[in-house]
């Protein structure tokens, strides 16, 4: 009985007791949720346009951040380093398309999925060789991102909002809006969506596969850079980031591989629930650090109920 009470009743009692602390937890969850959503967005964009489950999205975030900081360390002023990094990301996109994707155009999905694992490893190795394995500090100030924090007093309590987190949230929202506009309105956007259904069909209609793929990988490169900056500002730039980026997978599972809205909602949901569970259930009952597996378990449970995720289309087996 007492066990049941500590699982079902006690946590909610704590929440009610310290609403401001609860808000702080939710905010922290929201911010990490935004980051998951951004990474998931990169996944969705590539999956939607080329049916490739891009495992390397996580490492691209790290690689972009490393390049930015690396350039800055070698004397490139911060505001110039950003466009330069974008150029690097563009060439990375061209390289990936030419070397990896073009020869594998009609291969089954599992082969393309494994190719992205290959890219992940290659980029880790490349990043470590060029920039060394040590952790780096993100150049937040130089990029003009405010580093102070605001303090609010809701319910008479105390909640501090880091300004850089707020910029991250705002930046992410802007990015998402730009992406949605681009996908639905522009000519290129429609081509990307057409490509997603069937490579050959799109080719036959005259959509040039290689340019679209370069474009798509470049856009997800941009998203990766944005995520890298924001993430680096919070947790410093290191390869450990790559494992955390894996967290985007459950987001995709939850939100469905093809839907942009699914990626955002999924990302935020996981970010918040993960933090709340850790604080109110993880630490008191399970010895903490439940964030390592909570997202995956949650996504797993959802999938058991709806195998195609919250927003994916219903899978009809045709024989």
């Amino acid at each position: 009985m007492e066990m049941l009470h500590s699982i079902l009743v006690a946590p909610f009692a704590d929440m009610a007791e310290a609403p401001d602390f609860f808000l702080q937890v939710v905010w922290e969850g929201l911010v990490s949720g935004v980051l998951y959503a951004l990474i998931a967005l990169g996944f969705v964009l590539i999956y939607k346009s080329s049916r490739i489950f891009n495992f390397a999205q996580g490492i691209m975030v790290v690689f972009a951040a490393l390049t930015l900081v690396g350039l800055h360390e070698n004397g490139v002023p911060a505001l110039l380093a950003v466009p330069l990094t974008l150029v690097v990301m563009f060439f990375l996109a061209v390289g990936i398309e030419r070397v990896v994707l073009r020869p594998l155009v009609n291969q089954p999905d599992i082969i393309l999925f494994m190719a992205t694992i290959g890219i992940t490893l290659f980029l880790i190795g490349l990043g470590e060789t060029i920039f060394g394995g040590a952790n780096k500090i993100m150049i937040t100030e130089q990029l003009g991102i405010p580093t102070g924090s605001w303090v609010l007093e809701p319910f008479g309590g105390f909640v501090s909002i880091e300004q850089r987190d707020m910029t991250a949230v705002v930046g992410a929202v802007l990015l998402v809006i730009a992406l949605l506009l681009f996908l639905n309105k522009s000519k290129m956007g429609r081509a990307i969506r057409a490509l997603g259904d069937d490579h050959q069909a799109a080719l036959s209609v005259g959509i040039s596969l290689s340019t679209i793929w370069v474009l798509v990988w470049f856009i997800s490169g941009i998203i990766a850079l944005a995520t890298g900056i924001v993430w680096g500002a919070r947790a410093g730039v290191s390869f450990a980031l790559e494992v955390i980026a894996l967290k985007a997978l459950p987001v995709l599972m939850l939100g469905g591989l093809e839907s942009v809205t699914g990626a955002i909602v999924g990302g935020l949901a996981i970010g918040i629930l993960e933090k709340v569970f850790e604080i109110y259930w993880g630490q008191p009952l399970l010895g903490g650090n439940t964030e390592a597996w909570f997202a995956y378990m949650l996504a797993l449970l959802v999938l058991l109920v709806r195998p195609q995720g919250l927003f994916g289309e219903k899978i009809i087996e045709r024989v």
Binding site: D109, I117, F122, T129, T290, Y296, P307
Partner: protein
């Protein structure tokens, strides 16, 4: 060139089902076993055993387990590292609770624990397929890893959170623990791996192997041919995780000597997955070739340039190694998606019809 197929006709189904219908393949295996059981033990240095021979065998065994699940049954798994962990911890707990338990029995039993874990995390495969299934095994990987760290009972509450392998005797020879001679450990691992590989070959060859491949190729058609999908998938998870568990136990007892939780992290899962991919999904031989490549690569990168006089820092070796493996994966997927095993099959085919091209 070396193959002489003519005249090897089969007069009964028994001979038709022989493991090696062509005797040249049997000689090739005999040669390899001769090297493994005689030549290496006589010539190899301790460094060779510790850095190359034992890890190759253990990784190959783990990749064999994964290959049965992903290569034969088509169920993607990213949780191999964790299941190896379950095998290792189960074995450790067994020998601490029953100190006089024979090590072979301990290792054999520990396989069942990882098999149980495998089946538990395999249940979702009945409803979800393809990439989505990767999430179930990822959940297993992270959850079990967290469990190894948090559940102190697993490592007998010792402060460092690591498990230490005590000295254990088998037929009067210390095979595990600090004083175990590397040669004894090598033979122990070699024999276990050979026995399990033989069982794996027989299983994948027969009815069960066929049902797995049917589920992998087209599960709808498999069901309509009368194959019970649940039994097929769960048996694949069971057998695969059993073998992976054994590999985990060997990993700690016969090679590492000690282990802490984050030894069985996602990186280990990836490593075994690369071995299976580069080696060739859906093959037994591929796992050995893949393991040889992935384990030998860093050793080569470390020693070869040094031999040429330009020493490379150990960190740089690690970085270059990761990069090269990444490049290798991409290269293989382009040249031969079915990995080294198919490479060997093509070479063998060319030798058989030598000097003709087709």
């Amino acid at each position: 060139m070396f193959y002489r197929i003519a005249g090897q006709y089969k007069t009964s189904y028994h001979t038709d089902y022989a493991l090696f219908p062509v005797k040249q393949d049997a000689w090739l295996l005999a040669l390899i076993l001769l090297f493994a059981f005689v030549v290496f033990p006589l010539t190899a240095s301790d460094f060779m055993f510790r850095a190359l021979l034992i890890p190759v065998l253990i990784y190959a065994l783990a990749a064999l387990g994964l290959n049965i699940l992903t290569g034969y049954a088509g169920q993607l798994s990213l949780g191999t590292g964790a299941f190896m962990g379950v095998g290792a911890y189960a074995c450790y707990k067994l020998i601490t609770i029953f100190p006089d338990l024979n090590i072979i029995v301990a290792i054999a039993l520990s396989g069942f624990f990882s098999a149980a874990a495998g089946v538990a995390f395999g249940l979702p495969s009945l409803r979800i397929k393809g990439f989505y299934l990767a999430i179930a095994t990822l959940a297993a990987q992270f959850f079990l890893l967290w469990l190894f760290q948090k559940w102190a009972w697993l490592y007998n509450y010792n402060a460092s959170g690591a498990i230490q392998v005590p000295n254990m005797q088998l037929f009067g020879v210390t095979v595990a623990g600090a004083q175990a001679p590397v040669l004894a450990q090598y033979f122990f691992v070699l024999i276990v791996v050979c026995v399990i590989t033989m069982f794996a070959v027989n299983i994948t060859r027969g009815r069960i192997g066929r049902t797995w491949k049917a589920v992998r190729d087209m599960d709808i058609a498999a069901e309509l041919v009368g194959i019970n999908l649940m039994k097929a998938k769960l048996s694949a998870f069971f057998v695969s995780s059993y073998i992976v568990g054994i590999a985990g136990a060997l990993f700690v007892f016969m090679w590492r000597g000690a282990a802490e939780a984050d030894l069985f992290d996602i990186q280990l899962s990836f490593r075994v997955l690369f071995i299976a991919i580069i080696g060739g999904l859906g093959s037994i031989l591929g796992n050995y070739l893949g393991a040889l490549l992935i384990v030998a690569l860093p050793v080569l990168i470390g020693t070869v340039p040094a031999a040429f006089g330009l020493p490379i820092s150990s960190a740089m070796v690690e970085h270059l190694n990761t990069m090269i493996i990444g490049a290798l994966i991409i290269g293989f997927l382009i040249i031969e998606p079915h990995g080294l095993a198919r490479f060997w099959a093509l070479i063998r085919e060319k030798l058989i019809i030598w000097p003709f091209p087709h």
